[in-house]
């Protein structure tokens, strides 16, 4: 039936070096993203100080989880898009929403080729834009983003604490608390984190990696004792 000789070829269908959850919150005065700086090799905490953030232009930040090499490729592709925009010189600049849609089309095209980019990406931008795209290419605009295991552990907490008029400082505090919870329970999480803030007007700040701090292990014995039973 098929005369072509078929040789198996390798595409990313199982991630190797991975980043864990990315969190994001839309606030009254801007958007905040946060994630740790770990790229795991299986269960090994292989690269402990890598950035999972990227700023392709003023007023836009993207952050991603999943396969780290795919993430780097995705960042390069994004850069190329912005460079092409620069060369056009038509006075038009890509809005965060346009980039979000672009990434969703990119990821959808790749999944449809059965050669997916194994990532979930959050996009934050000026005008209080917050969106995420999963590896299948689903584009979602929401006030809260939590990817990976963060969907299970962080999203409920964020939903509980989010309210209209939340400031970026409060939002950041929420995200730090969520990252603490993730550090307690996610075996692929790290206590070194990075955050990005994009204000309503487009002022952008990506922090240096810093220690989460204020971790509370006093209750740990209760957990282990229970497990011993």
């Amino acid at each position: 039936m098929h005369s072509v000789k078929l040789v198996p070829c390798e595409l990313t269908t199982e991630p190797i070096v991975t980043g864990s959850s990315v969190l994001g919150v839309q606030c009254a005065d801007g958007v905040v993203l946060a994630c740790d700086t770990l790229a795991s090799y299986g269960s090994l905490a292989r690269f402990q100080r890598v950035t999972r953030f990227h700023q392709p232009a003023a007023g836009v930040v993207i952050a991603g989880g999943g396969e780290y090499s795919d993430l780097q490729q995705l960042f390069r592709i994004t850069d190329n898009v912005y460079r092409q925009e620069f060369c056009h010189e038509d006075g038009w600049e890509l809005t965060p929403r346009a980039l979000h849609q672009y990434l969703s089309r990119l990821l959808y095209a790749r999944r449809s080729r059965l050669d997916p980019l194994y990532n979930t990406v959050a996009v934050a931008g000026k005008g209080r834009f917050l969106g995420m795209v999963d590896m299948y290419g689903t584009a979602i605009e929401t006030n809260l983003v939590a990817t990976g295991i963060g969907t299970l552990l962080a999203l409920p907490l964020l939903r509980k604490r989010w309210h209209e008029g939340l400031t970026m400082d409060d939002g950041l505090a929420c995200l730090e608390d969520c990252l603490r919870v993730l550090y307690y329970r996610d075996c692929r999480a790290l206590r070194t984190i990075q955050v990005a803030k994009v204000s309503d007007s487009g002022e952008t700040f990506i922090s240096e990696p810093y220690d989460l701090g204020n971790l509370q292990w006093k209750v740990a014995h209760a957990v282990t004792e229970k497990l011993m039973i």
């Binding site: 039936m1 098929h2 072509v4 078929l6 040789v7 198996p8 070829c9 390798e10 595409l11 269908t13 199982e14 969703s104 990821l107 959808y108 999944r111 449809s112 080729r113 059965l114 050669d115 997916p116 995420m132 999963d134 299948y136 290419g137 689903t138 584009a139 979602i140 929401t142 939590a146 969907t151 299970l152 999203l155």
Partner: protein, 251 residues
């Protein structure tokens, strides 16, 4: 690696062999087990038609497994002021489908100097789905609207690869098994079988139809974990499209 076994599996997996390039086909062989290009994001969609209206409704929950990454992702697209489409199934495929349909309708508008009619949209949707017969668009569509000439309401129900049927009431998606029997009983039930089809539906006013829609979505949200958060309702009448939205259970 057992080549013989893989060859066999390839011929068996004819469901997506035709439209793909050789590298993708090879990928299919070696990775079919570990990664699937499909995911079910759940949700329920419904469309019903009366004498001079159609109602199209869907919930707004976006699920992945047992998680709900978004409580507010629309499943509905307003294609013209006479036709509204709702799709359950996979979110990414739905967004793709809605995007290309919208662009095809736009091109049609410029080429023909008129909006595409409901029946033409129905056929176009079928063709679009069938063009991916061997790598299906994982979306379960219901299309509702009013007929160009008669102003009569109609809805169309589809499967993922383009089979479609012109009906008066249809429901798809994760709550289908809960909702469809209720609709059947209410609108095409035994006690009304003695009436001709058009009279049965004609007895239902638009307000009653919307009330019924809200009821069945509330019911589905009670038992189907993939349906909930909110229901969006589009009512298509001769005077355009009306939109409303109501909360559902969020748990």
């Amino acid at each position: 690696m057992r080549p013989q076994e893989d060859q066999t599996r390839f011929t068996e997996s004819s469901w997506m062999s035709s439209n793909l390039g050789p590298s993708a086909q090879q990928a299919l062989i070696s990775h079919q087990r570990s990664w699937s290009p499909y995911v079910d994001n759940g949700g329920t969609v419904l469309a019903l038609a009366g004498r001079d209206y159609a109602v199209v409704a869907a919930d707004t929950r976006f699920s992945v497994g047992f998680s709900v990454p978004s409580r507010n992702l629309t499943k509905i697209v307003r294609l013209t002021d006479q036709a509204v489409l709702a799709s359950a199934g996979m979110g990414a495929d739905r967004q793709y489908l809605h995007k290309i349909l919208r662009s095809r309708l736009e091109v049609y508008k410029y080429q023909h100097q008129k909006q595409m009619s409901l029946s033409a949209i129905a056929q176009l949707l079928s063709n679009t789905l069938y063009s991916r017969r061997f790598f299906p668009i994982y979306a379960f569509n219901v299309l509702g609207g009013i007929d160009d000439n008669t102003g009569e309401g109609f809805v169309f129900g589809y499967d993922a690869i383009g089979s479609f049927e012109k009906v008066k009431v249809v429901c798809s998606g994760s709550g289908q098994t809960l909702v469809q029997p209720v609709l059947d009983q209410q609108l095409a039930g035994r006690q009304k079988y003695d009436l001709p089809d058009d009279q049965r539906m004609a007895s239902l006013s638009l307000d009653e139809a919307i009330e019924l829609t809200r009821d069945v979505f509330n019911s589905a949200a009670e038992r189907d974990i993939l349906t909930g958060d909110a229901v969006e309702i589009y009512a298509v009448t001769g005077s355009g499209v009306r939109y409303e939205r109501h909360s559902l259970r969020q748990d």
